[in-house]
Amino acid sequence: MKGLLKKLIALPVIAALAAGTLAGCSDSGSQSGTTGGENGIFRTLDEIKSSGTIKIGVFSDKNPFGYVDENGEYQGYDVYFADRLAKDLGVNVEYVSTEAASRIEYLQTGKVDVILANFTVTDERKEEVDFALPYMNVALGVVSPADKVVESLDSLGDNDQIIVISGTTAETYLTENYPNIKLQKYDTYAAAKTALENRNGVAWANDNTEVIAFSMQNEGYTVGIPTLGSNDTIAPAVTKGNDTLLNWINDEIKTLGEEKFFHADYEATLKDTYGSDYEEQLVVEGGEVASN
């Protein structure tokens, strides 16, 4: 009997402590008026406006797209746009540091209103979230030594090998579309870089932003193929079904196109890394992708 008594006392104590933990720490100022949709929870445009703060998920360690500077301020191409969105909406902005793997979850659970974290538009992702109009192009690129520039993958010699980093879209694309090209695969960025410097391969294929940045930082290398393969775009994303916010962002992107906003964004944030030559290739203005 004594044992039973102990149990009966212990269980409610645990329950009470656990409840205390939950109550004490849960966000008491939680969002009011959160709307539940079939594919997620979100706040409509009016709810964001009346709350006075928009929550935007950005990268905090992807220089120069979204990063934190030495004064603790968020900066970068994505953040420059996010600041403007909040300003034109007339609300304050709260940045949430996101990781690539959790971007969709953040939207589907309404923990952020918008994701502006270098989010590439893909068909799989379209099933999960709603993308607004694009504001940047992304494609593959190929960099090679300046004295022997590779300008086309069709003119490679039989023994010419292309350097790739394992697991990147460049590897997938080349394997699928150029099965005859020999690939040299490296696990890390540093190893691939050394391989190119040692001329183990004739060229290095990677995201074009990466190869452009590489050629800018290293003398004697030229991006012979600045865009390769399918031209993907980077766009803001909102929770699926949040049409009021989506439409507002789309209108905003079109309006901003008239003042060449994303060109100004590029000049302010990306020019130091990519130079002026690639501005037209990377920037998408007014949501309209130029066909090239």
């Binding site: 645990i14 402590l17 720490c25 905090s60 360690d61 220089n63 500077d69 030495e70 979850e105 923990k111």
Partner: protein, 225 residues
């Protein structure tokens, strides 16, 4: 210093930000540790009960904690509770819940081990001396249990401090995330920053965990007499 990339730490308020990140790490882990120790002691005592239902339930709890990676638990608590129940836990609250959930199970198992390791003759001798059950626990059993527990639980506490680096995945900017931000923001000017700054982060973790080990050693010595 230039070669190690530590110079990036002295730009702007970078070093203060890193210390602020350490503060977040320590705050989250200390709150979780306090809850874990309190709840773990209770859970440990419960696990010593002979009731089969209690045994099975605590076994299931313990196995769930052991099998589930903390990363998964974090996602379940932070995102899952919003999906299922519409709760909007802050990221920090989700961390405290997950680490308390984990710490309570581990601490409970340590307590159970320490309690059952007390030889039966200790109880019997004390009853023979005419002590009541309460007196036996207060004077004989609990002091010996605590002494056995200290080294093991210190190990758990330092492990919890280190594991909080996972919380960056749900948006909490702690010391490791701040260091990654600093490395990335300065990758043009300090390309070797990763080495030097991670070395500093290593030192910070060491400074945070070392006093706890010292305290444990001190207590062990003090109580061994």
């Amino acid at each position: 210093m230039q070669a190690l990339g530590i110079d990036a730490l002295f730009r702007g308020s970078n070093f203060l930000r890193l210390l602020g990140g350490l503060g977040v790490t320590l705050e989250l882990s200390l709150i979780s540790v306090i809850f874990s120790i309190l709840l773990g002691i209770i859970f440990g005592v419960i696990m010593t009960f002979k009731n089969p239902v209690v045994k099975v339930l605590s076994r299931i709890y313990l196995e769930i904690v052991r099998i589930m990676p903390q990363m998964v638990l974090l996602f379940v608590v932070f995102f899952g509770t919003t999906r299922l129940f519409g709760w909007n836990l802050s990221a920090e609250a989700a961390c405290v819940i997950v680490f308390t959930f984990w710490g309570t199970a581990e601490m409970g198992d340590l307590v159970r081990g320490a309690v059952t390791a007390i030889p039966k003759h200790q109880y019997e001798s004390s009853y023979a001396l005419g002590m009541s059950k309460a007196q036996t626990y207060y004077h004989i059993i609990v002091p010996q249990t605590l002494r056995r527990l200290i080294p093991l639980s210190i190990n758990l506490v330092t492990r919890m401090i280190k594991t909080t680096s996972l919380v960056m995945m749900i948006g909490v900017v702690e010391v490791l995330k701040v260091s990654q931000q600093i490395i990335e923001a300065n990758r043009m000017t300090s390309p070797n920053g990763a080495f030097g700054i991670y070395a500093v982060v290593f030192l910070l973790y060491f400074i945070a965990c070392w006093p706890i080990s010292l305290l444990a050693g001190h207590l062990e010595k003090k109580w061994s007499n």
